[in-house]
Symmetry: C2
Subunit: 350 residues, 2 copies
Amino acid sequence: MSDLDLEAWTCPAPLRDSPTVLLGHGAGGRLSAELVAHLFVPAFGGDADALGDAAVVDVGGQRLALSTDSFVVRPRWFPGGNLGTLAVNGTVNDLAMVGAQPLYLTAGFILEEGLEVAELGRLAAAVGEAAREAGVQVVAGDTKVVDRGHGDGLFVNTAGVGLVPVGVRIGPTRARPGDAVLLSGPIGLHGMAVMSVREGLEFGTQIRSDCQPLHGLVAAVLAAGVDVHVLRDPTRGGVAASLNEIAASSRVGVVIEERAVPVPDDVRAACGFLGLDPLVVANEGKLVAFVPGEQADAALAAMRAHPHGQDATRIGTVTADHPGVVVARTGIGGTRVVDLPLGEQLPRIC
Amino acid sequence: MSDLDLEAWTCPAPLRDSPTVLLGHGAGGRLSAELVAHLFVPAFGGDADALGDAAVVDVGGQRLALSTDSFVVRPRWFPGGNLGTLAVNGTVNDLAMVGAQPLYLTAGFILEEGLEVAELGRLAAAVGEAAREAGVQVVAGDTKVVDRGHGDGLFVNTAGVGLVPVGVRIGPTRARPGDAVLLSGPIGLHGMAVMSVREGLEFGTQIRSDCQPLHGLVAAVLAAGVDVHVLRDPTRGGVAASLNEIAASSRVGVVIEERAVPVPDDVRAACGFLGLDPLVVANEGKLVAFVPGEQADAALAAMRAHPHGQDATRIGTVTADHPGVVVARTGIGGTRVVDLPLGEQLPRIC
């Protein structure tokens, strides 16, 4: 086994800056991206630019989508969902983001000694129910138990397999100047729902997570004949991270109209209270879609006709200017750069 | 979301016996089996009897094998392997146990804040190297970070996809009276290698884990035209757990010759020291095969001609007597029941 010599490493500075793992390495922002690009991709092989939510591989002439996610959300129960619903919809949505029809899930449970069996039962039931709602089957599982004090109750990993329809080519490198940038609905609900429970905050109304499966919405847009270029569900790192990743992978610029981004009043209030930009807050039931400009109206009509996309709206445009950079036109007529968040603003949000 | 009412539960006594998760629930023994049968299977649907190492599903006319495993071994480095090699070979072998050609893996990393980036790099490199050796590609990944004190350095989940060749039907319900029970080589090496490091034990010689991929060995047996009925890699719970699970799923009895089971001297000495039966100690590079009695010699010849099966041997026979029960003929002419271990003898062995 060849040992990796950190001193001989060719990776750029950021990974060297911290000799130990930081919470920010899991936040879906710049530190996460650097870990993937400079540690995992060199180890596993592959092309960092082509990394989307799910991989598309060929098996005997069919194109399968594969994806995996671990879920470590705290608390495990929050308004609108729980660790179990998140574990299903998170992976289902990753498959949906390459246009796949999700078919099968695997589920790996890492239990901490002392977890209540009754809660495990409720979360397993939630996984089963969410799977049935999404039309996928949990076909393989695994359970490990770690000794008390070496875990945190329950971590769940799901992996998923889906079938990509013939002719569908959705991927992070396909954004083109002139593409319309669409958003399927209001943002920030999942992150603020979890934060409100975790921090014991009261924001007047109860904010509920938007946790829901998105493959039906994607299928509706594809059925409308739209040549979808890129899809992404803006989870960790929010819309800001998704747009930055796509801009970087496709080497294009993105311009969004800040006022066009739907942010519910209670989310805006909560974000103001916590000093967060709603654009970096996680969602679990929304997608951004890059489609040819002339097909934007057709795509929006298809999304709005679907129960999970009724508030879909156009938030921006792809430009050949400033490749790799996302800018927002602000309400007062200026522009600001929407940066990839560096590290951790909302730890353990999913 | 329907809450599960523990009091209204129809599950038999064992799960009620402990209101909290015990280490034994992850040990691959009776507690693990009860958790699967009475908690996960009712939640997810499916047939507990048909649960093998991997699920076989149909995707557009092709039969795919799917499997998942989480790895929480402690320590992460041990003679003969590490958490990374284990994470690859464990899932590759689960796929191999239904006769599949492993193709793709996903890898989910749950890091604890404070883990050294250099060690993460070495383990990621080990994953990549083991994958290349096994001829599989890691195509999707995920990284989560939990706050210090809420994890244990690194947990890795892998899920795998393989293709089951046409005509191959290997599964835990297919054992038949008259089948020969074969073992691909000496047992107990992985468990004792990990224990020796963990407990700081010296057994004279260094015991090395047998961690290795097994799909080549399986393919060799299938290529010899053997109608393999059942395969199982005896990891957690060892050969005892594997034989008991197969006996229960196929509703047959199993008789093994205790003296025919190859146990290396140093493993036997270590087991004696720790008070363990070598039959319950985990392996990570061995398989048990149930094949028609008349094909036993052909199967053994094929296994012995493969580098990973040179010490393959016949250890027993399937009988119609005592369905669900495994007995061993002891060296002194008696017989003893080889029980499914109840709970945890070797925590966090994989």
